[in-house]
């Protein structure tokens, strides 16, 4: 017994001795696939291509990285493609919170975030509440009071009912008792046009999109949907500062890998993105696009994804949106 035990220990030490340098040494030797869930030109696709450009420029990875578009099913097709590559060290995927939301409401989307291997969280996509510059609402409070006075008469333009825009509306309605309508539009351009044309009263928009409209005197920012004020908007209160202490569902961008990817490969990828986010090009990209730098390792990412899933599920249930999981 003792002998067998000692042998097992010896063996595992030997295994560790082999594995440890391997973990530091694993490097991709053939082209790597980076799977994204949008078609060419979609948000994730553009980020992926920008990332690949930066990685090449900084020479962080010795091989080519190909962006593979797997559009369809709000991330479900791409998630399924990742699962198909089970155990593959040379495949990674770029995900957003949409990947977490999709399987909650669609029974067709069989792959949940629990099936994928978390690598690293890259950033948060902040957002702000805006109204037209000539709107009577100077603060979020003005808007919410008006919505209370005339339930259902005010309107917010946004994306799908499962999107972050609607989740924050649901939370605010729940917390304040106000009621206003949510009008879904497929494209970001249409949502903004609806607000600028005065067909709706308020919308949630990304700061980078809002910036120029504000500078031109077309829009006014009421609050930021962030934990702390963004560098670009030092004078605009966060939701909490505006007096509404509701949970913010973070909109994450993160890297995941196929299930059962070898640990040394996953470690390599986590380190690569850790190096990437420290580069000047990355910092410039995050700044130019007014994103929120928020790096986290694989273990933390896992926790964040599970938290987001729970928050979304609660919000959907509260709002009467049917969930399937």
């Amino acid at each position: 017994m003792f002998v067998r035990g000692a042998r097992a220990v010896a063996l595992s030490i030997a295994a560790l001795a082999i594995a440890a340098p391997a973990a530091a040494q694993w490097k991709p030797t053939k082209p790597v696939d980076l799977i994204v869930h949008t078609g060419p030109g979609g948000g994730s696709d553009l980020l992926a291509r920008a990332m690949v450009t930066m990685i090449e420029k900084e020479k962080l990875v010795p091989v080519r990285i190909n962006v593979i578009n797997k559009p369809g099913g709000n991330g479900a097709v791409a998630a399924a493609a990742l699962v198909e590559k089970k155990g593959d060290a040379n495949t990674i995927g770029l995900i957003t919170s949409v990947w977490i939301a999709g399987p909650l409401t669609s029974s067709e989307a069989k792959v949940t975030v629990h099936d994928l291997k978390p690598i690293a969280q890259l950033m948060l996509e902040p957002a702000v509440f805006v109204v037209r510059a000539d709107s009577p609402y100077k603060t979020l409070k003005d808007f919410i009071e008006a919505a209370k006075a005339r339930p259902g008469a005010l309107k917010q333009s946004g994306g799908s009912v499962t999107s972050r825009d609607n989740i924050i509306r649901l939370s605010l309605q729940h917390a304040t008792g106000a009621k206003w309508a949510f009008v879904s539009f497929q494209g970001g351009g249409e949502r903004l046009a609806a607000l600028l044309g005065g067909h709706v009263d308020i919308m949630v928009i990304e700061p980078q999109e809002a910036g120029e409209q504000v500078r031109a005197g077309k829009l006014r920012v009421l609050t930021q949907l962030t934990e702390k004020r963004l560098a670009g908007w030092p004078d605009v209160p966060t939701l909490k500062e505006a007096g509404y202490d509701v949970a913010l569902t973070p909109q994450i961008r993160a890297v995941v890998a196929p299930p059962e990817q070898p640990a040394d490969a996953s470690m390599y990828w986590e380190n690569t993105f850790d190096k990437l986010r420290k580069t000047e090009s990355w910092k410039k990209y995050v700044h130019d696009n007014q994103l929120e730098e928020s790096f986290a390792d694989g273990a933390t990412l896992k926790k964040t994804m599970v938290d987001i899933e729970k928050q979304l599920k609660d919000a959907y249930t509260q709002a009467g949106i049917k969930t399937v999981r």
Binding site: G39, V52, P71, G72, T105, T162, E212, R215, K322
Partner: protein
């Protein structure tokens, strides 16, 4: 900067050796990807975006825009020759373009597509330059109720796309509307008609349907006879390859129609070039003195939609450059590109970056001339394709269709769909159902449904929102379109009865 000095400055920018070169590269690349079905401007521009980071932004923008409008020129080629739409905006060109090719007039059809593209494309740039800011503001007045009425008007055009039987056309259109309803509904997050398939959650891409029912259906139909079909005639001599003066005279109205309709629909963020091409085709047929020729190779049926999809490019740049609002997939990527290069697209963009704006406008004049010069000689080359015997031609069409669908979707499931729709197209042909209304219903159905539901959400369920001035006018025109043929039929029946009684 006023227009004259702005444009002069713009030409100075666009005519530098470097920028001229970028313009040539852009329009050539655009033509090529336009010819290839499946690969469209959004995909190409997205893939080239990282490369442009190393270029000087004005030149890069000139090149990317060249790809955008150049593709509209190339899109008609396979539509006319093979009945395979090269771009979504060239679907409607298949109807009369391919009919012309079958009659041995492929050359004039291709030539007219290039000429109409040039005229309307140039009109689009002129309009972009002269009236962009006021029109952009006007486009904001257009919202869900207006879009709904516009889509209803588009659907009413089914009357114009129907062959012998309006009933069959309506059935085909309803099938299209049903397909349009597939996928995840953004208003409720429920899946509709997805049959448990992940791949159907995003709905069915209408390009697959169009290639299936048009191209594959056509091939299957033609393979049926036991005797080898005759080769399509290709007339010799450059003169017979070009449109005649008579053709040009016939298309006078089509040029105006394509230019104006294309540009106006282009500036609306929620419409797009496919709708522009269908609309202008419908209008062309509605006002034509010989509507019976449409569908059998009327050259106006090529000129109007090809013009419209080019004028649309100029229109689509209006909200992008003057308001910072992208109205389509391609303009959304151009917006991302501008940000990547360090510009700030938005209401102040033209004022802040006059050099880029005027350089781009000037390059678009140059680009359109280049495209005309490039595309007219290509007519002679492409027309030779029709000399291929059937045993090479049909595999070629199948190959082009399959590769086209696979490049755009990257999925075997979509290929299976393509085969399914090919069979559907074949059956429809056998049973004498028109296929264009199917595609029309599919293109407009999704937008129409969304617009109606958005309207009713805005009005808290009151239907009165649809009777604002613009939607009212559009709805009345749509109703007239539907009623007039019925009235004509009724009148004909009445006359028959009178005849018999007399």
């Amino acid at each position: 900067m006023d227009i004259v000095s702005g444009l002069l400055h713009g030409f100075q920018v666009a005519l530098t050796a470097n920028n001229l070169m970028m313009c040539v590269v852009g329009v050539v690349l655009g033509t090529v990807i336009g010819v290839l079905p499946g690969l469209g401007p959004p995909a190409t521009i997205a893939m080239l975006l990282p490369l442009t980071m190393k270029l000087e932004p004005t030149g890069a923008m000139i090149m990317l825009a060249g790809i955008y409008y150049g593709a509209k020129y190339g899109g008609s080629t396979t539509s006319i020759l093979l009945n395979v739409p090269g771009e979504s905006s060239s679907v409607v060109t298949c109807i009369d373009g391919y009919a012309m090719a079958r009659k041995g007039r492929a050359g004039p059809a291709l030539g007219m597509a290039a000429i109409a593209s040039f005229i309307a494309g140039t009109f689009g740039v002129v309009a972009l330059m002269l009236v962009a800011p006021p029109l952009a503001r006007l486009s904001l007045a257009f919202s869900a109720p207006e879009y709904f009425a516009l889509m209803v008007l588009g659907l009413a055009m089914v009357v114009l796309l129907s062959g012998e039987s309006l009933t069959k056309a309506l059935l085909a259109m309803f099938l299209g509307l049903w397909i349009a309803s597939m996928g995840t509904d953004i208003f409720s997050a429920t899946s509709r008609f997805t049959f448990g398939q992940v791949e159907l959650m995003g709905g069915i891409d209408f390009v697959i349907v169009a290639i299936g029912v048009f191209a594959i259906g056509e091939v299957l139909g033609n393979m049926e006879p036991t005797k080898a079909p005759d080769m399509l005639p290709v007339p010799k001599g450059l003169r017979n390859l070009m449109p005649t003066w008579e053709d040009m005279r016939k298309c006078r109205f089509a040029f105006v129609n394509g230019s104006v309709v294309g540009f106006l629909i282009g500036i609306l963020p929620g419409a797009g070039s496919t709708i522009a091409s269908f609309m202008s085709y419908g209008i062309e047929k509605a006002v034509s003195k010989h509507p019976e020729e449409f569908g059998h190779g009327a050259i106006e049926g090529v000129a109007a939609p090809e013009g419209a999809n080019n004028a649309e490019t100029g229109g689509a740049l209006v909200p992008l450059l003057t308001l910072g609002i992208p109205g389509s997939g391609t303009t959304a990527i151009l917006l991302a590109a501008l940000i990547l290069w360090g510009f700030k697209p938005g209401p102040l963009f033209i004022q802040d970056s006059p050099e880029l704006f005027w350089g781009l406008v000037a390059s678009m004049y140059i680009g359109n001339v280049l495209l005309l010069i490039l595309n007219l000689p290509l007519v002679a080359v492409f027309a030779q394709l029709l000399k291929l015997p059937a045993y090479m031609m049909y595999p070629l069409i199948l190959g082009v269709s399959i590769v086209g669908v696979y490049t755009s979707a990257n999925s075997m499931f979509q290929l299976a769909l393509l085969c399914g729709f090919g069979l559907l197209g074949y059956l429809m042909r056998k049973l004498d159902y028109p296929t264009a209304p199917l595609v029309l219903g599919l293109v407009l159905g999704d937008l129409m449904e969304k617009a109606l539901r958005q309207s009713l959400m805005m009005s808290q369920g009151s239907i009165s929102i649809l009777f604002r001035p613009i939607p009212s006018v559009l709805l009345v025109v749509a109703a007239l379109l539907l009623i007039v043929p019925l009235f004509k039929k009724f009148n004909a029946a009445r006359l028959q009865v009178i005849d018999r009684e007399a």
